[in-house]
């Protein structure tokens, strides 16, 4: 790699995230921001050797990664890490640190790197972590909504069969029960379905 005087060396960035999709979304963001040397590790097997070989300037690790204690120990004591690494770089920027932890990002940075060089990387990781969590949340909500609709359909079917009423009347019955008991209609439907299943074989 050439070293042009007056220009900063390109940063070596390593992403450690067992969520491969999220890792690739962040990798893409880093590449768009002009970082060419980005490596991604999704499994922890051989991670220490990878770090030794890559000698990264910045390591971004998802906060919930169970191997963080191991990684920190490694940064602290290993002779293989040629340069000391510390979590975050600007300890005075508490808002940023809080945002990172809230988003589920931790970052370890080689000692002596200027904080202005790290800040955009961290900010990008935080916003993309948040975007991925939002997507995951929306997906989970959509899934549970779909499941709830299925349960309500099943409960309506039970009421129609047992009470010999039509679909509209069955739905109204469920809705009234939900209002009377101050519960969600999906919860009432789920109780009905499980009660029916219990009694069903009797």
């Amino acid at each position: 790699m050439c070293n042009i005087p007056g220009m900063a060396q390109p940063l070596n960035i390593l992403l450690v995230d067992d969520n491969g999709l999220r890792a690739s979304i962040i990798e893409e963001g880093l590449r768009e921001a002009g970082h060419a040397n980005v490596s991604v590790v999704t499994t922890v097997a051989g991670l220490v050797k990878r770090i030794e070989r890559l000698d990264p300037d910045v390591i971004v690790v998802d906060l919930e990664n169970p191997n963080r204690d191991q990684l920190e120990h490694f940064f602290q004591v290993s002779r293989a890490v040629k340069r000391p690494m510390a979590m975050f770089v600007d300890r005075s920027d508490t808002a940023e640190i809080e945002a990172a932890i809230e988003a589920g990002v931790s970052a370890y940075v080689v000692d002596g790197l200027r904080k202005e060089r790290i800040k955009p990387i961290l900010e990008m990781a935080i916003s993309r972590f948040n975007a991925v969590s939002r997507l995951a949340r929306e997906l989970a909500e959509a899934k549970s909504e779909l499941a709830e609709r299925k349960t309500i359909d099943r409960a309506k079917g039970i009421l129609m069969k047992v009470k010999k009423i039509d679909e509209d009347a069955a739905y109204k019955l469920l809705r009234r029960a939900a209002m009377n008991e101050n519960r969600r209609i999906g919860d009432v439907a789920a109780s009905l379905v499980s009660a029916y299943n219990l009694l069903g074989d009797a």
Partner: protein
């Protein structure tokens, strides 16, 4: 009386998280007017970070962690207190079958009845390896600032093994220890239960000694509390301490062990088989297939002053941190470590004395320690 206090706490899924988990799930917190919101974490680093930025008010912590924070070691250090001890003991040293077989050849029969014998056998194995030019044994602990690390090093050094030269000490998350042992990534580990028991029942290793034997009744986990939270919410914290004391008393009664094991084994908690938790609770460990050993005070949740923090213990842990190069040596550091384990808040919450008896504990003169170290160390004559 004020209304319900909402307290957020983090924990790592281990047997010694029992007191916090029982307080939240068996209604002990609620009964004392505390809504205790527990969050499971997968690493001590995340516990430290979340308490550091104030997402947790308190947490299940390795005993040296709040000392490290108060000494400004590691990332995001914030002032912490350890107003209560949550568990004593609970850890075992497990080695691979290969190492255990070599220890069997090196040691006399029954060498593992006490740490000194097990240490001599391990030292012989280490020496033989070095003579053959073999790789040094790789031993894993759960965290750098942990009693596992310091007790293991204490035991190795007392056995004539130099931790920095003769073995390699690394860090592995507890649930991954049995796999790392069977895969050959490590030759042994010191971790909390149930991971030693799980390694033995899977046939991948043997328990050769335990923390309760190396340092009997040494503090293992504490309640780490943000000092800012303690200062602003003294009443809520006192109620939490009372609730935890109730839970600790419940956890330590043998008739509750089966229920406790079921509670902890749940998928959203430790996610293990309940029977893997019983040996640790009862202090009767299967150290090798078909071999059982009763270990006194193996895992202590309450009784005999177990929950009262002792400044002498804080200072002893600090001495271990200094000994192994994790902290510079200073009188100030020792004072910080002692003050971290100040029992004043515990005494106030429990209604013991007027809280002033702590003062004598903090100015030296502690009866819990000899010049060689605190009571209960296996190689210190009392």
């Amino acid at each position: 009386m004020a209304g319900t206090s909402f307290i957020r706490a983090g924990y790592v899924p281990l047997l010694d998280g029992a007191v916090l988990i029982a307080a939240a799930r068996k209604g002990f917190a609620e009964a004392r007017g505390v809504a205790l919101a527990l969050q499971r974490e997968t690493s001590w680093a995340t516990i430290r970070d979340r308490i550091g930025v104030g997402q947790f008010d308190c947490a299940h912590m390795l005993a040296p962690m709040p000392i490290a924070a108060n000494l400004g070691l590691g990332p995001l250090p914030v002032p912490l207190l350890a107003p209560m001890v949550l568990a004593l003991g609970g850890n075992g040293v497990t080695v691979s079958n290969v190492v255990a077989a070599a220890m069997d050849r090196a040691g006399p029969a029954g060498y593992d009845a006490a740490p000194a014998g097990a240490g001599r056998a391990l030292a012989a194995v280490v020496a033989a390896r070095r003579a053959e030019g073999g790789q040094p044994l790789r031993l894993a602990v759960v965290h750098h600032h942990s009693s596992h690390n310091y007790d293991l090093r204490y035991w190795l050094a007392a056995s004539g093994i130099e931790p920095e030269r003769d073995v390699e000490i690394t860090v592995v998350p507890p649930p991954l220890m049995p796999d790392a042992l069977s895969g050959g990534g490590i030759d042994g580990f010191c971790a909390g239960e149930p991971w030693g028991t799980i390694a033995v029942t899977r046939g991948v290793g043997r328990i050769v000694t335990s923390r309760a034997e190396i340092w009997r009744r040494g503090p293992e986990k504490v309640l780490g509390v943000r000092k800012a939270f303690a200062d602003e919410n003294p009443e809520a914290l006192a109620r939490l301490v009372l609730a935890l004391a109730d839970a600790a008393a419940w956890c330590s009664r043998p008739e509750n062990f089966a229920e406790l094991a079921g509670l902890l084994a749940a998928r959203d908690c430790l996610d293990v088989e309940p029977e893997t938790l019983m040996p640790g609770l009862a202090g009767r460990l299967q150290t090798a297939p078909g071999r059982f050993r009763d270990i006194a005070d193996f895992m202590v949740f309450a009784g005999g002053g177990a929950n009262r923090p002792d400044p002498a213990h804080g200072r002893w842990l600090y001495r271990q941190m200094v000994r192994w190069g994790d902290a510079p040596s200073s009188d100030e550091g020792a004072a910080i470590a002692g003050a971290t384990f100040d029992p004043t808040l515990y005494d106030l919450a429990m209604g013991i004395g007027d809280g002033n008896q702590a003062a004598s504990d903090m100015t030296g003169d502690d009866d819990a320690a000899t010049p060689q170290g605190p009571r209960g160390l296996y190689d210190v004559n009392e």
